[in-house]
């Protein structure tokens, strides 16, 4: 007691004392986070109860009681009660390539492998020789299209053989790459000073956003051919790609418009005062700032588009979900919806979660002091 009351230090020179014993340490941390108040305690017990109810059962089903090697559902059931992953093992290759001819699959794999450097160059600053390799990124869509569709020396593959993960990636990547530029143009049109431009863009955006994607896909699959000159036939996949891109670009336009409207008027006026023409001021002053603010929204739209690619199964294209659904119709594997859907869900979860993490990284990177 005495050393506390004695003043051996000149005023203001006292070293900081450690916090009181009952304010630090692991037990205080536990007390604060789990039992601080009555509600908190109740929530803790509720959480423990939930975990205890769900986790052991789920683990048993998914891992401990699961069967990997079996020939049919009946064999699975004989071995154990858990998930029958044998269906996934058997259908794994098909879930990725669908009906793409086996001897040509190296082309898809090559296109897929090339996607990684392309995306890497595009997304990460630290990539070696980034500026030079950008040309490759621009050329990639054409290379990949040539590899997958064929022609010019490669065996052509009809698009109705496409399916599985491959189709999901084709629709997703095409939609994502094309919807951003179209969305930017639509957003600029919507806030443009020219009334005719504005009306056209607003009508387009509101129409697309007002109807579900599935009805647009129905339009693409049932009536788009009526609107083309007689005799002209569009490939179904191409029609779907157009619809998905238009759909995503309307949403993209709204996200970017939000960003454009958040830019202070002074920035537009300053760009005008510098004597910049419309496109110059947009490209150099307005869009870099507006796009930066709208990154979370843009990535959310990408994720939405990527998830929406599953809807193509309703008009008969077999994406990864569709191809796995055919396994359910197989008498050998009949009645295993959980396994098949959980496998597909994991695929989508991994891709979408990665995208949302990247958006967080980008937000942090571009966080150059505009926020408090």
């Amino acid at each position: 007691m005495t050393d506390v009351t004695e003043q051996n230090y000149p005023p203001g020179k006292h070293p900081s004392l450690p916090p009181p014993r009952n304010m630090t340490g692991w037990h205080v941390w536990i007390w604060k986070n789990f039992f601080g108040s009555i509600t908190n305690t109740v929530l803790t017990f509720l959480s423990i109860f939930l975990i205890w109810q769900i986790v052991p059962g789920a683990l048993d089903f998914l891992v401990f009681d699961s069967v990997v090697n079996a020939g049919s559902r009946a064999e699975c059931r004989e071995i154990a009660d858990g998930a029958c992953w044998a269906v996934i093992v058997e259908r794994f290759e098909q879930s990725i390539f669908a009906f793409y001819p086996e001897e040509e699959r190296w082309r898809v794999i090559l296109a897929f492998i090339l996607l990684f450097p392309t995306v890497g160059i595009l997304l990460f600053d630290g990539f070696p020789a980034r500026a030079k390799l950008m040309k490759f990124t621009i050329a990639y869509p054409f290379i990949a299209g040539w590899l997958i569709v064929g022609g010019w020396g490669l065996e052509p593959v009809s698009t109705d053989k496409f399916g599985g993960v491959m189709l999901t990636l084709i629709i997703g990547v095409t939609g994502i790459t094309l919807s951003l530029p179209i969305g930017i143009l639509l957003a600029l049109g919507r806030i443009s000073k020219l009334p005719a431009m504005r009306i056209v863009c607003v009508a387009f955006i509101e129409f697309i956003r007002g109807v579900p994607l599935i009805t647009l896909l129905f339009v693409a699959s049932t009536m788009l051919n009526y609107f083309l000159p007689p005799g002209v036939q569009f490939d179904l996949l191409l029609r779907v790609l157009i619809m998905v891109t238009l759909f995503a670009s309307a949403y993209m336009a709204e996200v970017i418009r939000g960003g454009l409207q958040a830019i202070p008027k002074g920035q537009y006026e300053a760009a005008d005062a510098m004597g910049l023409k419309y496109w110059q001021s947009m490209r150099l002053i307005i869009l870099p700032q507006a796009l930066k603010i709208s990154i979370p929204g843009i990535v959310n739209t990408f994720i939405g588009l990527y998830k929406d690619t599953t809807l193509v199964i309703i008009i008969g294209l077999l994406d990864v979900l569709g191809i796995m659904k055919t396994a359910l119709a197989d008498p050998k594997w009949n009645g295993l919806p959980e396994e098949v859907y959980i496998y597909t869900a994991i695929f989508f979860f991994v891709s979408c979660f990665a995208m949302s993490r990247y958006s967080l990284y980008l937000e942090k990177k571009l966080h150059t002091g505009h926020k408090r």
Partner: protein, 400 residues
Amino acid sequence: MASMEQTAPQMDLLRLWRDKNARAVIIQILTIAGLFFFTFWIVSNAVTNLETIGKGYSFDFLFEPAGYDINQYLIEYTNRSSHLTAAVVGLLNTLLVAVTGIILATVVGFILGVLRLSKNLLMGKIVYTYIEVVRNVPVLLWILLVHGMLISSLPSPKASVSDGWDFLGVSFLSNRGFYLPQPNPEPAFWATVIAFFLGIAGAVVFRRHARKVQDATGKILPVFWVSVAAILGLPILVFLVTGLPIVWSFPELKGFNFVGGFAIKPEFMALTLALSLYTSSFIAENVRGGILAVSHGQTEAAHALGISNSRTLQLVVIPQALRVIIPPLTSQYLNLTKNSSLAIAVGYMDIVATIGGISLNQTGREMECMTIVLLVYLCFSLLISAFMNWYNKRIKLIER
């Protein structure tokens, strides 16, 4: 001289192009002309194509008998009813899923959003995991998964009775649906309905009175409890006094299925559960963002003024949070309504599955059917956003 005359109009055009206002007019005229020609081209193509295969564009088929069955209808429907009736049945089914889903998603979403912010670390993490897992998986997959799980795990009607999948012996859960007792009101039930509306009117009047009293004297009257008593208590009292004027029809097992009662079909259950599960995760994030947007200073200021904890929440935090929450909430409601069109994947007969699916295939009238479906959804969207804009404005007016 000849060359001068030739270049003069070009110079004029160039000068016109360099003039900002003139250029704006030219660009707009070009846009409209381009659009006009594009539309004209499309329509003329459609007309030629339709003529070649001998189809017109008319809605007469709507009054012909549809000839197919619908497994859930809110208005009278048989397979001899017209395509128009089928479309209306589909529309009502869409509305039913949308309204049920919106209510469920809002309740679950608000609870999850608040739990996500709770100081409890464990609960916060559980809700975070749930939200991330749910929203990173396509909604169609959720619909199929929930439907598949319901169908494969629920017992047949017979097993439902024998294995105890019943609630209090009057409701049965089976793979044919969830069978509940159906209330059939007797004539005297009208008194209860009238009492209910009287209760609402009374609550509104009392609320106004309470506000006047508070403005005049500062006294706070218990508006909430009086409203509960008026809206719920009064009808219940009248219901008891008039002698319970409701006859229940109970589901009974006859043959392979239940007879009587009313059934919530597994397709409807799967669709509503999956849609509200999916949408609630987005709403939870909106709610969380909205609550976080109210700065802590507001709560502290309210406490400094001596306002109690619950009234701080009611008068300071929630109104400000709602202003942030409502715009994204609107688009979530719209999304849920539009996502309900995925009903076709599990065989629930909504508007897309009836008029845009079976009717379209049977009559071959793609243009007309798709026009109807697109117009219906456009109306939904415009109505919901108009309502929400009105609500937004109202909330803003109260605030400032």
